[in-house]
């Protein structure tokens, strides 16, 4: 009782042998084999185990609907679980193994679950596992449930994924076409050719490795010649042919997601190829010729290895030259099984054909008779028997009172056809609900209302020649829709069998207790469906979720219709009344790695580096992340720690001079006759009278009155301003300005241009800053204090003719300037400045030092301006002009925003000066170290100037409300509690004298 490889026929290459392993055992196959066909030929029956009961599973199909032969391919870092053996092309050295079983799929201890299957009905886990059995005692909290859960999680899942990083590379490609044809069966081939010959750009996408679809499984020379000719003509017509590529989803505007398997069929993939390619294809028109899938019938033990669908039996014979058994039973309720039965008999098997229908016409009787097939009408499978694989079948006969057990047949292969389900999934992605066609017992797609058509068996057309015609008709419609000319062809009608199908979904004899499987991966039984009905889960969505029918990796391709039919029967309604589930993309599972393309690892997000980057590194900078930027953090000299470095940098800057890369700040050119008016509207403080040649610190609010960003804007001329923003908000501010000018104030004659990339900038800070710049500019007189006062702006030239704009502004709190040059001159500027700075024993400083200085001064940054803070909260209320309206001026006066007890910006010092605290600590009243607290710490530093830890933060009412009181900085997640006092945030040089030099 076994399968065998035929000595001739099939689409395999008998000249070459392919060695592979299955569960470590050496095996052999041929080019053209799938893993499933090679294993079948080797008589391997048990290839997997089901999810819940660990029932043995074998090959059930020859395609994507495979629900039984789920294996793991490869090992280690390239381990691939849940591979359908039917979709895996055989290649030399392929190593496949069983999964979801221990010790092996052929002998699995997990099968013990099956012994308790009567208790493990659908949804049983919602009714228990809450406490101690039997009555769920000690039911408090989740502790007990989580103990049960550990066991459940280990038993759950099918294959095991590797925890190692996926080493393969994937690409994301983009394309456009006039017509996308999905599927290359008769309808798809013809549709593609029709449109291509009309001059349109056509993509023909086929998930198999060869074109032809169902034609590849036929034993008909005429059809094969037709196929070969069509393919040749397609190539000649310039159709873009994509094989091994699945259209996994249809999205808005004719966009299709494609997954191309580039190297999964190769033993040694070339290093220059990606493993897979994800395509975003934009098609003006789409024809879905995705075929139909044969479904089975629910009967006793219909999931035994050796039970598969009829078209699979036919495909293995004709395409792979594997005769699946010696004693074959074919069970059907429709005409399509007859040709297959005859071919199998012709190949040398003893074939019995059970037709559930009582009356069939002469042509079918002839087919059976001529082939020597033993035909039984009004007969159907009732219960398959066998231990690990089928060895016999109990047959039922139709009687007045339903199906009754009648006889037994020995068999080693049972092929079942319960009907055909057009693949409606892609239309379903567009939100189209399929419509039940009772005559053909299947769902078909109605009008889609988008440029998408369905052709061939996907449209419920069964006859092969009619499928070719429907492809031509669809092609013609596509050509016309695309603006071409073509003679109309009529679309063939749905159907095509000479005898009507008899709707049969389950064979059940009430006198016999049988276990019929509806979803073979999740072990959902026919009784589970009836249980769902009994408990009220009668809509298709509830049915699916309660029983888990259709939620396995085959996406319900095998079991959904049967489930619907059984629920309809229980409810006493027609199938469409139960509803249809919405199919979601992807049609078949897609590797997450493929969907990400190349944006992986370091390329996940862009890296932004200033033009000073390499120069900084050459000077010994250690970089840190600031958003997408790398910025210098500190410049450690030999053996210095970060603390030593930034303390030295701060000290040096304050003593003489320091240079700091500030290029990452946003820079925006604001130009035009109305630029002044524009700035005056968007900044909270007055800008209407900013003199030419002066800069001003400005605060921008959002519409709702909360602080958005701060920066400095320089006036270069009557209508030319240079705005700077914070690094973090540069993009956001630019977008905001563009939005205001284009959507709210179109009458303002202003143009804004991002010039962040165009200018590189360095701060030059400290008492010797002027001296350094005097030596670097061509005309030192421009630096004089009268001509270049605090907040002044000049445009000048550095030595060597470098154009430069300099503002005398300070973030550090020292006397300071910011010098900007066009980015190409960065290196030259830095060499100049640094050369001079070193003559003053100056230094380079980074973000750590900058942070320490600004905290000491009480200058706010994004750590304080967190999107919830008002201008008054930040202690900058004086910057809100009284005498003008501006963005946010109305809403900032909402009552809650004006409360006295709102958290206000403060400085924080430890009571014991030797103590440390962290940003993120919560400030609490000393007698109430719990609850929401009174405030929080935003930033801390060990102050070089003061010699102890200090911080900035917010406290309700500000520091005046806590004069002389001790607060507690509570930090349970790190340090614990520290006593602190709150003071004015301006903890160093509060009068700001140093800036004015």
């Amino acid at each position: 009782m076994s399968a065998r490889r035929q000595t001739s026929g099939g689409r395999i290459d008998r000249e070459q042998h392919i060695r592979f392993t299955w569960d470590g055992r050496p095996m052999q196959g041929y080019p053209g084999d799938s893993l499933a066909s090679a294993l079948l030929a080797a008589n391997e029956k048990v290839l997997g185990r089901s999810f819940k009961y660990h029932r043995p599973r074998g090959v059930m199909s020859a395609g994507v609907e495979e629900s039984g032969a789920m294996v793991t391919v490869g090992s280690g870092v390239r381990r691939d679980p849940n591979v359908k053996a039917t979709m895996q092309e055989l290649y030399p050295g392929l190593a496949a193994s069983g999964q979801n079983a221990w010790p092996s799929v052929r002998f699995d201890l997990g099968a013990v679950n099956g012994l308790f299957s009567r208790f493990f009905a659908a949804g049983f886990y919602y009714k228990t596992f809450m406490g101690i059995p039997p009555f769920e005692w000690f039911s408090k909290g989740t502790g007990l449930w989580m103990k049960y859960e550990k066991i459940i999680r280990r038993a759950a899942g099918m294959g095991e994924a590797s925890r190692l990083p996926d080493p393969d590379v994937y690409d994301h490609a983009h394309a456009f076409c006039d017509l996308l044809v999905v599927g290359s069966g008769p309808a798809g081939l013809q549709a593609a050719l029709t449109a291509a010959q009309a001059g349109f750009e056509v993509w023909l996408v086929e998930q198999d490795c060869e074109l032809g679809g169902e034609l590849l499984s036929r034993a008909d020379d005429r059809l094969e010649r037709q196929r070969v000719e069509l393919v040749a003509e397609l190539e000649k017509a310039g159709v873009r042919i994509m094989t091994r590529t699945t259209v996994f989803g249809l999205y808005d505007y004719g966009t299709a997601g494609l997954l191309e398997r580039v190297t999964d069929h190769l033993a040694k993939p070339p290093a220059y190829l990606p493993r897979q390619r994800f395509w975003t294809l934009r098609a003006r028109h789409t024809i879905v010729a995705s075929g139909a899938l044969e479904r089975g019938i629910a009967f006793g033990n219909n999931d035994l290895p050796g039970v598969m669908n009829v078209s699979a039996g036919r495909s293995y014979l004709n395409r792979y030259a594997v005769l699946g058994g010696e004693q074959i039973v074919v069970a059907t309720n429709n005409d399509s099984a007859y040709a297959a039965a005859a071919e199998l008999a012709g190949a040398g098997a003893r074939v019995s054909l059970l037709d559930a229908r009582a009356n069939i016409d002469g042509s079918l009787l002839e087919i059976a008779g001529d082939a020597g097939v033993s035909l039984h009408t009004a007969a159907a499978p009732l219960d398959a028997t066998g231990s690990a694989a089928i060895s016999g079948l109990e047959v039922a006969a139709a009687s007045a009172s339903g199906w009754r057990s009648e006889s037994r047949i020995a068999c080693d292969l049972l092929l079942v056809s319960g009907g055909w389900s057009p693949v409606v999934h892609l239309a379903s992605h567009r939100g189209v609900k399929p419509v039940w066609n009772a005559d053909n017992a299947c769902f078909v797609t109605p009008e889609i209302g988008e440029p998408i058509q369905v052709a061939g068996s996907a449209a419920g057309i069964w006859n092969t020649d009619a499928c070719f015609d429907s492809g031509a008709a669809a092609g013609v419609q596509a050509v016309k829709a695309l603006g071409g000319k073509a003679r109309a062809k009529s679309m063939p009608a749905i159907g095509g069998w000479s005898n009507p199908i008899l709707p049969v979904y389950e064979i059940r004899d009430p006198a016999r207790k049988t276990k019929a499987i509806v979803d073979p991966q999740h072990d959902v039984t026919a009784d589970d469906i009836r249980l769902a009905h009994r408990e009220g889960f009668v809509s298709v969505e509830h049915l699916k979720r309660y029983t888990t029918l259709g939620m396995a990796t085959d996406g319900g391709k095998v079991g959904n219709i049967i489930g619907l039919a059984l629920m309809a029967e229980a409810l006493g309604v027609d199938i469409p009344a139960v509803g249809t589930t919405t199919f979601r993309p992807p049609y078949t599972p897609v590797a997450i790695g493929a969907l990400k393309g190349r944006n992986v690892g370091e390329h996940f997000r862009p890296l932004r580096r200033t033009p000073m980057h390499d120069w900084n590194l050459a000077q010994g900078a250690t970089m840190t992340m600031a958003g997408l930027w790398h910025r210098p953090w500190y410049f450690a000299r030999a053996g210095e720690t970060i603390s030593e470095a930034y303390v030295r940098e701060t000290g040096t800057t304050r003593a003489t001079v320091g240079l700091c890369d500030v290029t990452s700040l946003g820079k925006i050119a604001v130009q035009g006759p109305d630029a002044t008016e524009f700035l005056n509207r968007i900044y909270s403080n007055p800008f209407a009278k900013l003199p030419i040649g002066k800069a001003r610190y400005g605060i921008m609010l959002r519409d709702d009155g909360i602080v958005m960003d701060d920066g400095t804007t320089w006036r270069l001329s009557e209508s030319d301003y240079f705005m700077t923003t914070t690094t973090a908000h540069a993009g956001k501010v630019m977008v905001w300005l563009e939005e205001l000018l284009q959507t709210r104030w179109p009458d303002l004659r202003v143009h804004v241009t991002s010039v962040s990339e165009q200018w590189a900038g360095s701060a030059v800070a400290g008492p010797s800053s002027r001296a350094v710049l005097e030596a670097c500019v061509e005309d030192p007189s421009v630096m004089g204090n009268e001509v270049f006062p605090f907040m002044g702006v000049i445009e000048t030239t550095l030595n060597g003719g470098i154009p430069c704009r300099i503002a005398r502004i300070s973030f550090s709190g020292e006397m300071a300037y910011e010098a900007y040059v066009p980015a190409d001159y960065t290196g030259a500027m830095m060499d100049l400045l640094w050369n001079e700075a070193q003559k003053h024993d100056g230094c380079l400083y980074g973000l750590e030092a900058l942070g320490a200085m600004r905290i000491e001064k009480g200058h706010v940054t994004g750590a304080e301006l967190d999107g919830r803070v008002s201008i008054d909260d930040a202690g900058l209320g004086k910057m809100a002009a009284e005498n003008k309206s501006f963005i946010g001026s109305a809403m900032r006066n909402r009552p809650e925003l004006l409360r006295e007890d709102r958290p206000r910006l403060v400085g924080i010092k430890p009571v014991d000066r030797g103590e440390k605290f962290n940003a993120g600590a919560i400030l609490c009243a000393a007698d109430k170290v719990s609850g929401m607290g009174e405030g929080w710490i935003t930033a801390v530093t060990h102050s070089p100037a003061l010699g102890h830890w200090i911080g900035l933060g917010f406290v309700s009412g500000g520091h005046q409300a806590w004069e002389g009181t001790t607060l507690v900085a509570a930090d349970p997640v790190r340090k614990g509690n520290i006593d602190v006092e709150v003071v004015s945030p301006h903890m160093y040089d509060p009068g700001g004298e140093r800036m004015h030099g």
Partner: protein, 97 residues
Amino acid sequence: MIRINCPFCGPRDHSEFTYGGDASIVYPALDAPMDDWHDAIFLRENPCGMQSETWHHVNGCRMWLVVERDTMTHEIRSVRPAHQGNAAVMSAAGDKS
């Protein structure tokens, strides 16, 4: 992928744009009362069906566009530059929207 016919750049994927907001909002004058500002900032009609919204072509021309789009079917009925002046110029030149 929604396809937006940018009047300046032609048909583009929506991923080239950032989404703005409700284009039907008329923001009051800066000195208008708080209630007017509250309503403009916070209240939305949020229809299921055709509505108008702004998109910003950040990876293209950086122009703000007003798009009429159905929030259920995602069908776009019209696209025009948000700035009336630009819209007028494009109309006169025979734009592609």
